[in-house]
């Protein structure tokens, strides 16, 4: 029963972080065709702000208030990154300069953290303690992260179906050129997608900070695991990301119980390869028609 408790609470909780990063990647990908390689660094920034600004024993109100402020700040920062990334593209996704610019953004953020914060790991106290479930005590923040992932999914769904901005961003996903011809301000919409993605990873970093292994070099692992979840779920598919993230998390934990901790990462990548072989468009993705 203890194994089940750990698989359910911690596997899903850890996987929720992958899902959140995957959903934020999808937001940008749908609007611009760009995979932001600096996504993980913004998770670290969210956690770093938690370390810098959270008082020793914050009340829930302070924690949530500060979390919202940090989320907005990271959203604004990612919008700036988006501006720099989009600048040489002129809204086109045919070029691949984004590979270099997003990677450069990741390196710059890492270096800035190293210069101003130093090489120490970012260790944030857990202000909310633990709860007992199936014979094991778990940090309350695991279900909080799962809740955050569900909330983000529902919020994005509502945004994309009930707001003009969201509907227009959907149009970009379907046909960027047609959307531009119809008068959509493509650049502004793409910048908005970066800002929205920043809100998601900023919140993930801040609220998950006590559980995440944050350091100036940790960003790549978040981006990698988020990418795995995004591809398995189907690139661009938010429901796929929401399900694939926790699935990968649970499978990783189960692999520790069955084959040993040394295979944890390998299992996630084996799953990715398997899905790519059988369903290249991802479990929840739809095969894209190609114009000839």
């Amino acid at each position: 029963m203890e194994e089940l408790g750990i698989t359910l609470v911690r596997g899903i909780g850890e996987g929720s972080v992958y899902a959140l990063v995957a959903m934020s990647m999808n937001v940008i990908f749908n609007a611009s065709g760009i995979l932001n390689l600096a996504q993980g660094e913004f998770v670290v920034l969210g956690g770093l702000f938690a370390l810098l600004f959270l008082p020793t024993a914050p009340g829930t109100a302070v924690w949530i208030g500060l979390g919202i402020a940090v989320t907005l700040a990271v959203g604004a920062m990612m919008a700036v990154e988006g501006y720099v990334v989009l600048l040489p593209l002129r809204s086109s996704v045919e070029q691949h300069s984004w590979l270099v610019t997003t990677l450069a953004a990741a390196v710059i953020i890492q270096s800035l953290i190293l210069i101003f914060q130093g090489p120490d790991p970012i260790v944030v106290d857990n202000p909310f303690g633990t709860f007992d479930f199936l014979g094991v005590s778990h940090p309350i923040l695991y279900p909080v992260l799962t809740g955050l992932a569900i909330l983000t999914f529902v919020g994005l769904r509502w945004f994309q179906t009930h707001t003009l901005l969201g509907l227009t961003m959907n149009a970009l996903r379907q046909d960027l050129e047609a959307a531009r011809a119809a008068g959509a301000s493509v650049r502004r919409l793409q910048l908005s997608s970066f800002a929205i993605a920043g809100l998601i990873v900023g919140a993930t970093g801040f609220f998950g900070a006590p559980l995440l292994g944050l350091s100036q070099s940790a960003g790549i692992s978040f981006a990698l695991n988020g990418f795995v979840a995004a591809v398995i779920g189907g690139l661009g598919n938010q429901l796929g990301a929401l399900i694939a993230g926790p699935a990968v998390g649970m499978l990783s934990v189960l692999s520790i119980f069955t084959v040993g901790g040394e295979f944890k990462q390998a299992v996630a990548f084996a799953l990715l390869i398997g899905v790519l072989l059988l369903r290249p468009e991802g479990v929840f993705g739809r095969p894209a028609a190609r114009r000839v």
């Binding site: 194994e3 778990h138 070099s217 934990v253």
Partner: protein, 410 residues
Amino acid sequence: MISSRVLRRTTSALTALAAVLVVAATAGASPQKPSNATAAQPFKLGLLLPLTGPLALPGSRIRTAVQYAVSEINRKGGVRGRRITLVTVDDAADPTQDVQGVTKLINQDRVDFIFGPITSDGMLAVVPFETRAKKAAIGVVGSPRLTPSVMRYGFSVLLNAGEQARKMVAYAARRRWTRVAILHDSGEQGKSANVVLRQQLSNRRMTITGDQEYNVGATDMTAQLLSLKGGNPQALLLFPTSGTDVGRVLLGMQQLDMDIPVVGGYGAHFGADVARVAGRPAMTRLVATTYAAFGKCPKGGVPNLTKSFVNGIRRFNPDGFGTLVPALDLAAAVRDGIWVMKYAVEGARSTSGDKVAAWLERNSGKLGRGLVNPKVTANRNSHFLFGPSSMVLVRPGSEVSPGVYARADC
């Protein structure tokens, strides 16, 4: 118009002046003062350290210790009269970057000696290049796989992970534990220590109730711990790289209500780093290996050289001293390593790797004077400068003075 006579006189005067200058210059560079010419050339020490990436923290601590040792040596005349200058390459703890870095240090910077890398994987990657170039090196690596046949001209200031494993098992045997579990990280050192731990436990007929691995920097090891808890062990043998990881292990044990002693390798002794994650109360049953100069028995004192080293490096870098405290013993070993380099190059009268290595293998036992870790035991069978006699078990939760811990094996 200038007359031809004036022109002739001016030419003669300039020729004479030039002749005087040539003579003076030749006299200045006469063979009577050959050492001055050599002294003008600095002794280039190449540093191959992670200043970014997952091991940036130990990398920066080690760089500070090297800088401290270099300042000491330069104050006392340098290496064979040559001032040491540092050429630093950041390898980000990545063996691929280690290969690029060592190639640059050897071929482009033409360094005399190399200090680093600090991972066993990195050292395994660079030794072929160092051996080919006959370049002597001292790393901060612990894998027992790094035998003299592998790193012919390479040495290490870190405690051999295999020797640590032997010490840990001997401690478990003295406590009469018969059933133990093993948890180690995914680095080369952790994996090779695991092999030795298993051998030693088997030799002593102790039961291994479980064996698990976690990735360096992992944040939740409860799944591994729960799997180990199922075997009902009397103690956990833990081989980590960083104190933060150890803190996460102790937190996981608390959450699983797993109240058994933990005997850790060197990475578990970084008391302040462990406490930052798990808090001091979680460390009461933690024991870890470290250098003998930084362990104190109840009736014993702290060695004077340890005290003077701690005071010296505090004066050298007052702002960074706080960051250095959890790893003062490592800083001392690194400082000693740089002094050993000086003695070896001067003893061998050469910087050539084969001569330096041969000299150190024969003479390391005579080098203790002035070193914080006075027992240098490198020989033809082991290139670890500090052997089992320099190693003790301490309680990382009981710091008696900065960087010095209460011994667990007195």
